[in-house]
């Protein structure tokens, strides 16, 4: 990691209760860099760098406690986010529904933000294709925070999207 340009990106992880947001971020950042949890606000800030062909991207990831998500996403969480990860639980289809409603509630406010939909807990499905284009035109990726399958790839993909947009 030498001469490459380093750029910074803020990522926000959203999704309903217990879909695996924290597990995904932990899997990705495990043993890497630092972690600050701010209990009064219920937000955890983590960082990890991703090296792409042209640049190094320092990802600062905001993982929000469930109480604050979706129904009332504070404006200041959204503002300045370069990428949003919308997580749902593949074994609970209703969580996808909620997620899609969530997207529509703030998509207008963030025209230049890269958004990726993540179906998590793929290890619990018999067979899951790891990627689809969903009907909203958003990219949908399937992961397992438990086995680690597709987790790094998903973050890398989003990192790339944030520098393209």
């Amino acid at each position: 990691m030498s001469e490459k340009l380093v750029i910074k990106r803020k990522l926000l992880v959203l999704g309903t209760f217990s879909v695996g947001k924290t597990s995904l971020v932990n899997r990705f950042t495990l043993n890497k860099f630092s972690d600050i949890y701010v209990p009064t606000i219920g937000v955890s800030i983590k960082k990890k760098s991703v090296e792409l062909e042209e640049v190094i991207v320092d990802l600062v990831i905001w993982d929000i406690a469930d109480v604050a998500t979706f129904d009332i996403i504070p404006e200041h969480y959204l503002s300045g986010s370069h990428g949003v990860i919308l997580v749902f639980d593949l074994t609970r289809p209703e969580t996808l529904q909620k997620t899609l409603e969530g997207v529509n509630s703030f998509r207008d406010k963030l025209p230049s933000t890269a958004i990726i939909i993540v179906g998590n807990k793929s290890d619990l499905l018999e067979n899951s294709n790891m990627e689809t284009q969903n009907k909203e035109g958003l990219m949908e990726v399937h992961t397992s925070a438990k086995s680690g399958e597709n987790v790094d790839e998903m973050f890398e993909r989003l990192a790339r999207l944030t520098i393209e947009s």
Binding site: D35, T40, V60, H76
Partner: protein
Amino acid sequence: MIETLYPLLGSMMKKAMLNQVRVINEKIERTANQVFTLGFWKSKFKSLITGIDHSEVYFQELYQSKIEDVFVIQKGSGLLIAKYKLEDTIADRDTIAGALEAIKGFAESVIGKNSIELEKIDYGEYNILLHNYHKFYFAVLCSGVVGNHFIQDVNEKIVNYASEYLQEIPTQVNSLNFKDNSENLQKYF
């Protein structure tokens, strides 16, 4: 890891910047009036010379205030634009900057966005002074007891730095041209 280094990061933030300082100030004033120590008279003398409020001199000498670090943080994203110390000796500063932004945003949304911007965060044994500009703000991490005079001093440094470099402070951390401004910052603090 960082939780043990910065144990009270999440502690409640105080809207009124000077209230706490004043309370301690008064306590010291009271104690000082009762205890006629040599230190007390020394600081009294110094206060006569410098014109700084006596109790402030006294307690600043008791609890030497010091700038530990300076962050320049982009509003909204919480991304770090520049920092005073080049290496991460205490903790990762990108993460700290994010946490500060989260606290600031939270406090301001509770207080009411447009009315006021947070000027100080209590942070365990540290005080963090915030100095707001349009697209970014300075967060100055201070140890010791932070008095009025010290705050003025910090603000002066910030204004001096900003008057020289305001145009160069990159407000677009998200642009590919982002250039860290830390070296310039170091000349002023």
